[in-house]
């Protein structure tokens, strides 16, 4: 069980898509094909399997947009290894995103197909793909806003067509109805503000269609008057609806995650829990290059080609590229959404450039051949020789530059491949649960502390033990230790997380009270000071303070910073911090340990300083288990009568 003592309605708080997919695949393999597999192995290979599907769909998508097989093939190669996506599709990354990107590209592909053909069949298929996307990832909101945006832009630039009308209306009605079937979404699909754009454009497109129809009946003269009246009525109705909707609370305001997309500083101000996740931080420029490499240069070129020769689908690409680029700037996680469009535009650019220069070379070759022929004919006419050599020189220059460009592009492509492989092997392939380091002699040292501690919990605590830890480790404890946790990664209840934050940052007495109220048996903290593991609880501490502050106003960030507004663990740190529960749990008896030869004992290798508050005793808890390298420390909460 998780979220003790509240419990959590699993169906209403998770997207079921990935579980359904894994279950279906497992059923298919086990019961129909009769291959002996374990559901675990199905889950492990979901990522690569869906990445390969995504690769196929990207081929179709690019081909659909650019009408160019070459570009399609290049895009299939590129998306197969683009680091931005491979981070979510390596074996073992059984996450919503691993199927969501496939569903996203599929939906977009079918949408473009529907717009280009005006076929209701494609629009309906698109709605199904949309349903799959809705059931698998919260990022479906992006689709429900981008497609209306596309329709809107097409109307604005005068590209309205019956094809668009058929595609959009079919998709919107079917898609919305289907998405409402997902329990987690339900009536949000028509009520929440995130979905309003879709509804608005749906109304608009009806209006436009009606206007076009009336226009064909009325003459120019009456039409203008009609337009004025209609416009007035439409706007006033719309305003009325929105005002009534918000006033009655029927239309929910924007959720925090969505608002922080529009206003990058929103989350930091109001919802620390969203801002605390490292994936929700704004992207550093280097990570664009890290995750996209040469696509960073190629995708503007692709955009240029889109502008140069626009079509309905190319306008879609432009919109997709522009919006997703903005969103990645806000949240590093959305690099995942940017990667496919970068690949598509980049491959279009590469294909076009290759073609351009290859044609140049071919042209030259053909001319050369013609000349050779004429040369053969006129071998005897040697008086024209001078002119020919001059001509050859000029052509040679063009030939060389074209060859050079092709060489450069090829090199770019090859370096992209090498970079992707390197990134995949270095950054995205190692399991974050097992840490590895190189020893002085070059040997690999493995820090398997997490699993050691989780397995200890699984084996040597009461089966109904309640474990309190920061929410980051909730899922891991639930799955690996098979024990009840107070909060986990499904951050659906902020006050409960805030309460845990409070228990960690307050003094031992208050913390003991909170833990007693919540029936806590064990507290688990992460401490990296012994081996220099930097993502431990002390480095997350200020987030605990901020989130804890949302439930208890007496927790203020300033109290945990010293007079110079610094957060320090040494003797110059703020006393509130040095006496807080989390500090005491992390550093208990660390003052006796000598971590580095030339440093005094109690030297923290993450913060590079000697711990401040030393020689204290724990009263409310006792050390129950500490992993080999001290990364995980588990304390048993003592009953009141057993305390010292």
């Amino acid at each position: 069980m998780s979220w003790y003592p509240l419990g959590r309605v699993v169906g209403g708080t998770v997207f079921p898509g990935i579980m359904l997919t894994a279950g279906t695949l497992y059923f298919f393999l086990k019961k129909i094909v009769r291959i002996t597999v374990h559901i675990k192995h199905v889950c492990v290979f979901m990522g690569p399997f869906f990445a390969s599907n995504a690769s196929l769909i990207t081929y179709l998508f690019t081909k659909e947009v650019s009408k160019d097989y070459g570009a399609g093939l290049i895009s299939a190669v590129m998306i197969a290894i683009v680091p931005g996506y491979i981070s979510r599709s390596v074996a073992g990354s059984f996450d919503n995103e691993c199927i969501a990107i496939f569903a996203l590209i599929l939906t977009y592909y079918l949408w473009l197909k529907a717009v280009n053909t005006g076929s209701m069949f494609y629009a309906a298929s698109c709605a199904l793909a949309y349903l799959y996307m809705v059931s698998s990832w919260g990022g479906y909101v992006f689709i429900m806003n981008l497609i209306p945006l596309h329709a809107f832009v097409l109307i604005i630039v005068g590209r309205y067509s019956k094809r668009l009308y058929v595609a959009y209306t079919t998709l919107y009605i079917l898609g919305t109805l289907l998405s409402m079937q997902v329990p987690f979404v339900g009536f949000q699909a028509v009520q929440s503000s995130e979905h309003l754009a879709g509804m608005g454009i749906f109304g608009l497109i009806q209006l436009v269609a009606a206007v076009k129809y009336v226009h064909s009946i009325l003459g120019e003269k009456y039409f203008k008057l009609f337009l004025k009246i209609l416009g007035f009525i439409a706007v006033s109705i719309l305003v009325l609806f929105v005002v009534i909707g918000f006033a009655t609370g029927y239309i929910a305001p924007w959720t925090g995650r969505f608002l922080s997309l529009l206003d990058p500083t929103y989350a930091k101000k109001y919802i620390p829990i969203i801002a605390s996740v490292s994936e929700h931080q704004p992207t550093a420029w280097s990570s664009y290059f890290f995750d996209l490499q040469s696509l960073v240069f190629l995708y503007p070129v692709g955009l240029y080609y889109c502008f140069k020769n626009p079509s309905d689908s190319k306008i879609f690409l432009i919109l997709y590229a522009v919006t997703s680029t903005y969103f990645t700037g806000v949240m590093v996680r959305l690099m995942l959404v940017l990667a496919p469009i970068c690949v598509i535009l980049g491959s279009m650019a590469l294909s076009n450039l290759f073609k351009l220069f290859a044609y140049k070379i071919r042209e030259f070759d053909e001319e050369n051949k013609n000349k050779k022929k004429s040369q053969n004919k006129n071998t005897k006419k040697q008086n024209k020789k001078k002119k020919k050599t001059e001509q050859n020189k000029i052509f040679n220059l063009g030939y060389i530059s074209a060859t050079l460009m092709i060489a450069v592009l090829t090199a770019m492509f090859i370096s992209y491949i090498f970079h992707s492989i390197w990134v995949t092997s270095e950054a995205y392939s190692s399991p974050s649960i097992v840490l590895a380091a190189k020893g002085y002699d070059g040997n690999r040292i493995i820090f398997d502390d997490f699993r050691e501690a989780y397995y200890w919990l699984r084996q040597n605590t009461a089966p109904d033990a309640k474990i309190m830890s920061w929410w980051d480790y909730g899922y891991q404890i639930t799955a690996m230790a098979n024990r009840t946790v107070l909060v986990d990664n499904n951050t659906w209840n902020n006050t409960h997380i805030g309460t845990v934050g409070k228990a960690m940052v307050k003094t031992e007495n208050i913390s003991a009270q909170v833990m007693e109220q919540h029936d806590v048996d064990y507290v688990l903290v992460l401490f990296g000071g012994l081996i220099g593991y930097s993502s431990d609880d002390i480095n997350k501490y200020l987030w605990l303070v901020r989130i804890g502050g949302t439930v208890d106003p007496s927790i203020k960030e300033e109290d945990y910073l010293n007079s110079r507004k610094e957060f320090r663990v040494d003797s110059q740190g703020a006393p509130t911090f040095l006496n807080s529960m989390m500090y005491k749990l992390c550093f208990y008896r660390f003052w006796e340990v000598k971590t580095e030869g030339n440093k005094p004992s109690g030297y923290d290798r993450v913060r590079n300083t000697v711990m401040g508050n030393q020689n204290y005793e724990l009263e409310a808890v006792e050390e129950a288990f500490t992993s080999e390298h001290w990364i995980v420390r588990i304390y048993k909460v003592l009953k009141k009568e057993n305390r010292k």
Partner: protein, 455 residues
């Protein structure tokens, strides 16, 4: 002289009276147990009972010199054990002084009310009336930690209880009991004179002229800082593939029988000095496997365990495993260990009967007692005439059906179960079976060597 002897006998009788818990029920049972004929037919001349508590598994070695008092061929010699003892006997063996094995059988007819009776039959050709032989016992659940809980830095003590005398139906002329301890530190021991503690050895006796069914409580409280690993359960699954592979999956639930650790577990103290602050704990486990074993995997439900290494010698492969965390008293952990053996090293075919014979060791590859043991042998599809031969009895033998890959009718699985095993049970079992329709073994079964899937 005579007076002295009388006094001695009086003391002994008094001691027996004091120490024995001779309720009426007991007497009744004893009478039921054996009739007088048996009681009087043998007289033990000399009995030496050696109890070894220094090893992981406590053992008893009882050396008996006895004389048959009646005319003619001696009938069975009966070895009896009291209630408390009979549950603790995991393994029993009898042999003559020169080493040849004697047949020892549990007499279920006479073993009533918890008492157990074993009968030994001497070879017929021996015309002598004097016999000299040894009974060996391996005990399980015989020593208990006391105190039951300790902190990390405390010494660990065990209590062992038994009968000072050899509980025999026959009168005994002289008996001596020797107990060896793992260390010199013995907190307390029974003081039935003459008793003397020399170093790590306690010598009780010699006692003279002891009646049949004598009992005097033996209780020793001694220090043992060694870990007491105990396999709570072991499931050993063999998958036979006639494409030439034998896949073995051993699933261990292992714990420590030492006193429960209470209070703080300090990693700091533990890593500083394992002798002082890791008393009675263990983290290293050694597995002794077949010399040709290969393709090892060491994992549990949350994935591989990265700390293991192996060494190969001429006659065996030794795997040194580290459990995820040190196992203190009453802590436990579980893991799978899987490996393969080329089938030709375990399987042979009899030319006479045309039957296959699979030979594989029973019990665990780890040197520790086992509580629940289950051995599953998954044979190829279409196997018939399955028959198991074990050197000792098993508690239950049954058949299951196992389906994997493209199986149609399923593979027969022979399940052998036995409780309370000691390392001495690690003897080969032989499974005979017939597989005439080789066609039925599908191509896919060769892949079955990786059948770690359990649901």
């Amino acid at each position: 002289m005579r007076v002295q002897q009388l006094v001695l006998i009086f003391i002994v009788v008094l001691a027996i009276q004091v120490f024995s818990d001779s309720s009426i029920d007991d007497v009744q049972v004893r009478q039921d147990l054996l009739n007088v004929k048996h009681q009087t037919s043998f007289v033990n001349d000399k009995v030496t009972k050696e109890i070894d508590l220094s090893a992981l598994v406590p053992t008893q070695r009882i050396e008996i010199k006895t004389t048959y008092k009646k005319k003619g061929e001696p009938s069975s010699y009966f070895v009896t054990f009291q209630k408390e003892m009979s549950d603790k006997i995991a393994f029993i063996k009898a042999s003559t002084i020169d080493g040849s094995t004697l047949k020892i059988v549990k007499d279920n007819k006479q073993s009533i009310n918890g008492y157990s009776v074993y009968s030994i039959n001497f070879p017929k050709e021996e015309s002598t009336k004097k016999f000299h032989f040894i009974v060996e016992l391996d005990l399980i659940n015989s020593q208990m930690p006391s105190p039951k809980t300790v902190t990390q830095k405390e010494d660990l003590f065990l209590v062992y209880t038994d009968n000072v005398f050899f509980y025999t139906p026959y009168p005994t002329k002289t008996q001596k009991t020797e107990i060896s301890f793992p260390s010199n530190f013995v907190k307390s021991h029974t003081k039935l004179t003459p008793t003397e503690l020399k170093g790590n050895k306690l010598v009780c006796g010699p006692y003279k002229k002891i009646n049949g069914f004598s009992h005097a409580d033996l209780k020793v409280h001694f220090q043992n800082n060694q870990p007491l690993p105990r396999i709570k359960s072991l499931t050993k699954t063999l998958t036979v593939s006639h494409f030439g592979n034998l896949f073995v999956d051993e699933y261990y639930v292992i714990s420590n029988e030492q006193a429960k650790l209470v209070g703080e577990f300090s990693r700091l103290d533990y890593s500083r000095n394992r002798q002082l602050s890791g008393r009675g704990s263990f983290q290293d486990v050694a597995l002794h496997l077949h010399e040709k074993a290969y393709g090892f995997e060491y994992f549990d439900i949350i994935g591989n365990i990265s700390t293991s290494q192996y060494t190969k010698t001429n006659d065996q492969t030794v795997i040194n495993l580290k459990t995820r965390f040190p196992i203190f008293g009453e802590w436990k952990t579980d893991f799978h260990f899987t490996y393969n053996i080329p089938l030709k090293h375990a399987l042979s075919k009899s030319k006479k009967t045309g039957l296959y014979r699979l030979t594989f060791p029973f019990g665990s590859s780890i040197n520790a007692p086992i509580e629940d043991f289950e051995m599953k042998i998954i044979l190829p599809e279409g196997t018939s005439k399955i028959n198991a031969e074990t050197p000792f009895g098993v508690d239950s033998q049954s058949f299951q059906v196992y389906n994997e890959f493209l199986d149609t009718t399923g593979r027969p699985v022979l399940v052998l179960e036995k409780n309370l095993l000691v390392p001495r049970h690690n003897q080969n079992v032989e499974i005979f079976y017939d597989l005439s329709f080789k066609k039925r073994e599908y191509l896919f079964s060769s892949i079955s060597q990786r059948s770690e899937f359990q649901e």
